[in-house]
């Protein structure tokens, strides 16, 4: 490659090559107009550094754009395609609806044959939850899985309690005129509280919601038994049946059966005074109509109220003057099976 020397300076020269490129090179005793070959051409690292900086700036801008788009895309995906709440339509065809943040259905599943059969011909994805619920109920009615007047349980599971309240209100107000009753429940509370039949959100007639009485937790029922000392067992026996009888009625969902009291000893042991049940031991609740009646104890029916078991046992109220003898016991205290020596009766 030949170069024409275009300009000369002390420390460098400007050359033009045969491809019309202009370059800076070492001035090795050059003269303007001279044609040279193999010059020492300058390395322009400044330009390279500028280019690298430009590249880095462009890469950073591209990365920032990518992050922005990825963030927006993730947010869109999170809003529209990830499950934020679940509604279970509990009937013969058990249908589970997964909803996105906007309350639109993103998936429909079932764990039984009827539900799968129903969903085979139905696709509710992208529709509103109320619309899908109505359509599914209509399908169930048409297929005979439910009939007019039936009650369908609706369980809503969400991380936020506000979502449950909002959905419940929506179902109250926007359900179509189907002759099917719907009970709305919070799935989080389902484990502790089974649905009550009197909690009705009917699509036909909108009644005031009757809140179910919270059941007495099992622990509290047990507490009644705990404070009693072992040697108070006899005392416990008599009042216990009356207590348990009352206890059973309000707490139908407590599955623990009251202990069967032993035969009371009426002559010796009077029932203690009618004491009102202590609030920390017994919590009377509204009577359950469907709760089965416990077995009637041997105690006479005229026992008015379940008295609290008296830890300090009072066997009887016998007023004895100091100089008097104790009256004869009403019953024999001798155990026929005992090997003890038979004591003569006291006169």
């Amino acid at each position: 490659m030949k170069y024409i020397v275009m300009e000369c300076h002390d420390s460098y020269s400007v050359l033009m090559d045969e491809e019309s490129r202009f370059v800076m090179a070492a001035n090795i005793n050059y003269e303007v107009g001279q044609t040279v070959t193999n010059p020492i051409i300058m390395n322009n690292k400044e330009v390279e550094a500028r280019n690298i900086k430009l590249f880095i700036t462009k890469a950073a801008a591209a990365a920032a754009c990518f992050i922005l788009i990825a963030g927006a895309g993730y947010r869109y995906y999170n809003h529209n395609f990830t499950s934020h709440s679940t509604i279970v339509l509990s009937s013969q065809a058990n249908i589970t609806m997964e909803l996105n943040r906007k309350g639109e259905v993103i998936s429909l599943k079932s764990n039984n044959d009827e539900g799968n059969d129903l969903l085979k011909d139905y696709n509710g994805k992208g529709k509103d939850k109320v619309t899908v619920t109505n359509e599914i109920l209509e399908l169930e009615l048409s297929k005979g899985y439910i009939s007019d007047g039936d009650t369908v349980e609706l369980f809503i599971a969400s991380k936020n309690s506000d979502v449950f309240d909002d959905y419940k209100t929506t179902f109250e107000n926007k359900m179509s005129d189907l002759k099917v009753k719907i009970n709305v429940h919070d799935m989080a509370a389902k484990a502790a509280e089974p649905p009550k039949p009197n909690e009705t959100v009917s699509s036909e007639n909108k009644k005031d919601e009757v809140k179910p009485n919270p059941p007495v937790p099992e622990k509290e029922a047990d507490k009644k038994e705990e404070p009693l000392k072992p040697d108070d067992k006899g005392v416990k026996d008599t009042p216990a049946p009356a207590v348990e009888k009352e206890k059973e009625k309000p707490n139908a969902d407590i599955h623990e059966e009251p202990p069967v009291p032993p035969a009371p000893h009426d002559e010796l042991l009077k029932p203690p005074a009618e004491e009102p049940p202590k609030p920390d031991e017994v919590k009377p609740t509204a009577p359950e109509p469907e709760a089965p009646a416990p077995p009637a104890p041997e105690k006479p029916a005229d026992a008015p109220e379940p008295p609290a078991p008296d830890p300090a046992h009072k066997e009887r109220e016998i007023k004895v003057k100091p100089h008097e003898r104790l009256p004869e016991p009403a019953h024999s205290i001798q155990d026929p099976n005992s090997i003890d020596i038979v004591l003569p009766e006291l006169n």
Partner: protein, 240 residues
């Protein structure tokens, strides 16, 4: 960093932008450049030594490529000078064992005089003078456009792709004399017409505007020698 170093850095950054400041800075540090050359040659350099010219060139290169991130300027320059001298030495090593034609014998006759020379030195000198005149005229005309030779060297395309784009535009201008006339009249490069006519990106032409000024001027009348020099590149135009 001591105040001297600060002063040097400020001078370097001034020399980057201004040619005159660069010449003054190099002049001021000539002893340093000679000392570095002497270290390499292991003798004091002579004004006619190529190594001194190369060291001065390396010092100027260091001015252009220096940034504060690279530490001390003088250390950076010293390294640049050393590297250039080593590169030159390796290149010259290929010529070791060859006799210089300027070498003189006992009668002070140079060896070159004993060899028959088919070259016409007179014509070569004439050509060189004519070329020099053209270059001077070109420099003067470029000043009207606000462009210097150094600016053109800085603005010249380095990548093959960009060079091809510029050459395409220049070929189109050569084939359309009215564009060159318009260019001389308005003292402006008609980028839009060139981009449209040559079917190239206007942005690429804009980035190399000063280079296009020099080459378009060469393509106008009066610069036959230089046009002849770059004619192989401008194939497809008029034969000169």
């Amino acid at each position: 960093m001591d105040p001297n170093a600060h002063q040097i850095i400020s001078q370097v950054y001034a020399a980057k932008k201004d040619s005159r400041a660069a010449d003054e800075f190099i002049e001021a540090y000539m002893p340093f450049i000679k000392a570095e050359t002497a270290k390499f040659l292991k003798r004091p350099p002579d004004q006619s030594d190529d190594e001194l010219s190369i060291a001065m060139f390396a010092f100027y290169e260091a001015i252009r490529n220096y940034s504060m991130l690279k530490g001390s300027f003088l250390k950076f320059a010293s390294l640049q000078i050393k590297n250039r001298l080593i590169d030159n030495y390796r290149r010259e090593k290929r010529n070791f064992g060859k006799i210089s034609l300027d070498q003189s014998d006992e009668d002070d006759n140079e060896l070159i005089d004993t060899i028959s020379d088919e070259h016409n030195h007179f014509e070569e000198n004439e050509l060189r003078e004519a070329t020099k005149q053209e270059i001077e005229e070109l420099s003067q005309q470029m000043q009207d456009f606000g462009v210097s030779m150094k600016d053109v060297a800085d603005n010249s395309p380095r990548q093959r792709r960009t060079l091809d784009i510029c050459q395409k535009a220049i070929k189109y201008a050569r084939n359309n004399p009215d564009i060159l006339e318009d260019f001389l009249k308005t003292k402006r490069v008609p980028l839009a017409k060139l981009a449209e006519g040559a079917e190239v990106e206007r942005k690429s032409l804009e980035r190399h505007r000063r280079y296009l000024v020099a080459v378009l001027l060469i393509c106008t009348n009066g610069y036959e020698i230089m046009r002849g020099h770059i004619m192989q590149v401008l194939k497809g135009g008029e034969a000169e």
